[in-house]
């Protein structure tokens, strides 16, 4: 897959950094739906999405793609802890987004995120330092 082509299609200005473990690319206001649509058309596979807390209120999301054997890591920031869901375009993202919602409290626009690894009564955002789970059974 041609990096330059991706760059033009997605209208990105920043250059990527190429390393042994793939192409890394941070894009501030990435249109994730557009990205997913384009990459899936080009037979890329979504490996996973990594979420990392960024400051107190935001999360950085890294979309890891496998483009015919080549790794591509596109990262972007949530806005107000919200980002568009790609699950409708890429079914593989369904569970991944649910898990990120459980662990980081990120809200994915355009879909329902039912709890995956937590229980329905738990608050989402387990990884956001000191959001305690209820203490029942701990006594």
């Amino acid at each position: 897959m041609n990096v330059e082509e991706i760059r033009q299609t997605l209208g990105i200005e920043t250059p990527p950094s190429q390393r042994t473990d793939g192409i890394w690319w941070h894009i501030a206001g990435l249109n994730v739906c557009h990205m997913a649509q384009y990459l899936i058309q080009n037979e890329a596979r979504l490996i996973t999405i990594t979420a990392i807390p960024d400051g107190k209120s935001e999360c950085r999301l890294i979309y890891h793609w496998d483009c015919q054997g080549q790794l591509l890591h596109l990262s972007t920031l949530t806005q107000g802890r919200k980002i568009d869901s790609v699950a409708a375009i890429c079914p593989a993202a369904d569970w991944i987004e649910r898990e990120i919602h459980d662990l980081f409290g990120v809200i994915f626009n355009g879909r329902e995120t039912s709890p995956l690894v937590l229980r329905a009564s738990d608050p989402s955002g387990l990884f956001l330092a000191n959001i305690p789970l209820d203490e029942e059974g701990k006594e």
Partner: protein, 159 residues
């Protein structure tokens, strides 16, 4: 009468020791202990020669074998299943996880150790314990099973 009763009690205790049925419960473990537990049933270890059977329903079982550190999501099921087992029953904690939480001890979603929720009779330490260690633990459990009160047919108390 006294002698007859004592013969009956002996027979029941002996039968219990010869026919312990197991139920296996994974409370959020990593599979290591579970597979080693399963290995006990297989040709190299073959627990069936001791009359041991792995049962699919807790209602049929005498010995509850628990592995895993007890996660929040399995805790309720653990207590239900323990309550479903008819007495006399004993609990074997397989591996380090149910005993102490092992490497998961400080996880917010782990609520163990196991003895907070149900009484534990035998601990088998190890991460995971080898099948022979698990067998030894079950043998200990059988000895404890034998000492539990003996009841008559239909569960009426005799001793």
């Amino acid at each position: 009468m006294e002698a007859k009763l004592s013969f009956f009690v002996h027979l029941v205790r002996y039968a219990r020791g010869r026919s312990p049925w197991l139920f296996h419960l994974n409370c959020g473990g990593c599979n290591g202990c579970d597979i080693e537990f399963l290995a006990c049933l297989t040709p190299r270890y073959d627990v069936e020669q001791l009359g041991i059977r792995l049962e699919g329903s807790p209602r049929h079982a005498d010995i509850l074998c628990v592995s895993g550190p007890v996660t929040r999501n399995t805790q309720a099921a653990l207590q239900t299943i323990y309550a479903q087992m008819p007495a006399p029953k004993v609990v074997v904690a397989i591996g380090s996880c149910p005993a102490s939480g092992n490497v998961f001890a400080d996880s917010p979603s782990v609520v163990g150790p196991l003895e907070k929720f149900i009484p534990v009779d035998v601990y088998v330490p190890g991460c995971p314990p080898r099948p022979n260690a698990i067998l030894e633990g079950i043998a200990n459990a059988i000895e404890q099973l034998k000492t539990k009160p003996v009841t008559g047919i239909g569960g009426k108390s005799h001793a």
